[in-house]
Symmetry: D2
Subunit: 215 residues, 4 copies
């Protein structure tokens, strides 16, 4: 059983609130208001930049070259691919680069990203990875679940490209690597008391992800 499954099991209600949020359901049904999705896209760009900082912090904190290289792959992916892909995707949704860059951060964005970063600075790489995991692995789970769900509207759903991105092989691999790294760290550092603390971090991070979906 992966450590991620243990964390998820301990935060079952919050996990459901996050992964089965009405934003997600309406995205699958194609009924989400465009404005809400645009708001989400704008904040998600700021989110990526803070996540790049979190991966950089993870590289600084790593206690092995394996850990450093894992963190570096995440940092490279964001800075060398995802940010420009995201801006391109925003343009398709009618948001110019200038528009995105001028967006002030929402309280929900600040709450999740700074919680992750402070959790990492305060603790060790396992704390940091645990705080990142609801996002990294959760998006893969949401994408795969929506893709597999026969109720998901595929034709004429403007949000279907989002579902394809997160259910696609590339992103599923990102999440699989995060699970491996989380298990590696947990294998080295988990104790009963830390498990309780890490479940607390995971639960808070999941709640903050839930609140990141705009309503």
């Amino acid at each position: 059983m992966s450590f991620f499954s243990i964390l998820k099991g301990a935060a079952a209600t919050d996990w459901q609130g996050y992964t089965q949020h009405s934003f997600v359901a309406r995205l699958a049904a194609g009924t989400l208001e465009k404005k809400l999705f645009q708001h989400y896209l704008r904040q998600d760009y700021l989110f990526l930049i803070e996540f790049a900082r979190a991966y950089a912090l993870l590289a600084y904190k790593a206690d092995s070259l394996t850990g450093m290289r894992y963190a570096l792959s995440g940092l490279n992916a964001i800075l060398e691919q995802e940010l420009s892909l995201h801006l391109k995707y925003c343009r398709e949704w009618g948001l110019s680069e200038a528009d995105v860059l001028a967006t002030p951060p929402s309280v929900e964005l600040i709450a999740y990203t700074r919680f992750v970063l402070d959790t990492g600075q305060r603790g060790d790489a396992l704390d940091l990875l645990t705080a990142l995991s609801p996002c990294i692995i959760g998006y893969a789970e949401i994408g795969a679940a929506l893709k597999a769900d026969p109720a998901t509207v595929k034709i004429g759903n403007p949000y279907y490209s989002w579902i394809e991105m997160y259910s696609g092989a590339e992103y599923q691999n990102v999440a699989a690597s995060a699970m491996v790294e989380l298990d590696r760290q947990a294998g080295a550092r988990l104790t009963p008391i830390r498990q309780t603390q890490l479940e607390g971090i995971f639960r808070t991070a999941t709640r903050l992800e839930e609140q990141f979906w705009p309503v």
Copy 2:
């Protein structure tokens, strides 16, 4: 002109939104719902703990014994006085210690406190102090303004003790010391580009303080 005045001037609208928030107005009028104040008190206890961590970080970051001792005074005040005074005040409002300690952090609490802590770790002591100042100095300003305002209800207002605490000499001195320390740091480190960045930090921190008032 103090650096704090400059920061406040650059965030005038947000500052007004924070210091003249309806929570504040209803507190002065004695019309605030008890439940809202209790919610605020509970979160404020968690807030103090994170602020103690911020003062500890400030001591670590300080580049002089003067700076370390300023930070230490804040850390001592919270850990050796304010936390127990706060629990005592909570009891007067019908909240047991167990009740307060079991309170989960709100998204607004996490947003402000982790923004402060990450701003401090990322930057220098001036960044950290700037992010702390809307709270430290703002509460003194709110307390003094309400105390001086003839419209404030003094007799029979259950919240008047809160106003007296923040308008009292002891807390006014805390705020005055923060202004001195902020000027000292700004005197050493301010440049035009940094001023723009610090105004951004101050504005965000002020917005997060505004959102910390429960509605």
Copy 3:
């Protein structure tokens, strides 16, 4: 068996090199060159300032009020007592405050103090406390051993006041508290892999303490 004993046992050779260093032996015999002791005293003042920063970092990193208060007691002791006592002691050895403050840091000072601080930022409170412990607890052990050793010269030994300070009840209590806090942290966070890492941190810190004695 305390975690400190385990750490010491795993670094037995280095521990002996540190605690039975010729500097220590000549201090007990009263034969140490005054210049060497003066060099040590000057660097030790700079050392205290960095140790204050390490305690501040420990307070920031703590995951409980107990941990924060332990760190705060160390920070208070240095900033409110030890620094001025140290300057007074330096004056007795013919070193003016100006002389001490103008001393450039030695490579050995930088190595130990920055190793402690980076170990703390990179890892968690247990890593930080482990890196601090050869100093905090080692000095108590050295002081007590020299005090108990019949070979130690007591009369006419200009260094005997140093031995009395570290063998005295006040400093022995500081070391005892550090052992309690180290056990508390190890009880919560120790795993076999971490133990190997912490033994490595302890061994390096002990080697750096050994090299801090001037020759």
Copy 4:
């Protein structure tokens, strides 16, 4: 005038001690003891790993995508090229990978690398970059000076490949980029008081680089 030139000018004696060290002179003359160079190579591998951590920290601290990408390029270079090139170079000097990896860190290695990392965590990106610059830019200056010096032994000098590496276009570009980034940061953040502090950081870092040359 570049900020690097200003820093170098303020640390002229220390800079000379570092760049014209007897280790460097004997390397140029081809008369350096092989054992000393092997010691240097072993420590330099550990150095690269800590420098990767410093670049990761710089990415975390950066206040712009430009700054993050600069740091990322340094991190990528070390983790994806330099570490394996270094091990290959070590093998040419008779040091197996196992031998290099088992090397305990010297006090001089710990002093410089942890000084850099703590300076970065304590301060901002400009502090960190200043502490890194004697290494990044100094090696390019040493390489170019030795290459241009007619007294340098080129034929039959086993160390000439080292000189070619650091005088080569690729490494000269690395140093040129660091100077650009340092100027960019100084342009945003320099004040008279900070200049004095940064000169102190640079001087200490230069002294620690000097002491990193084995004797």
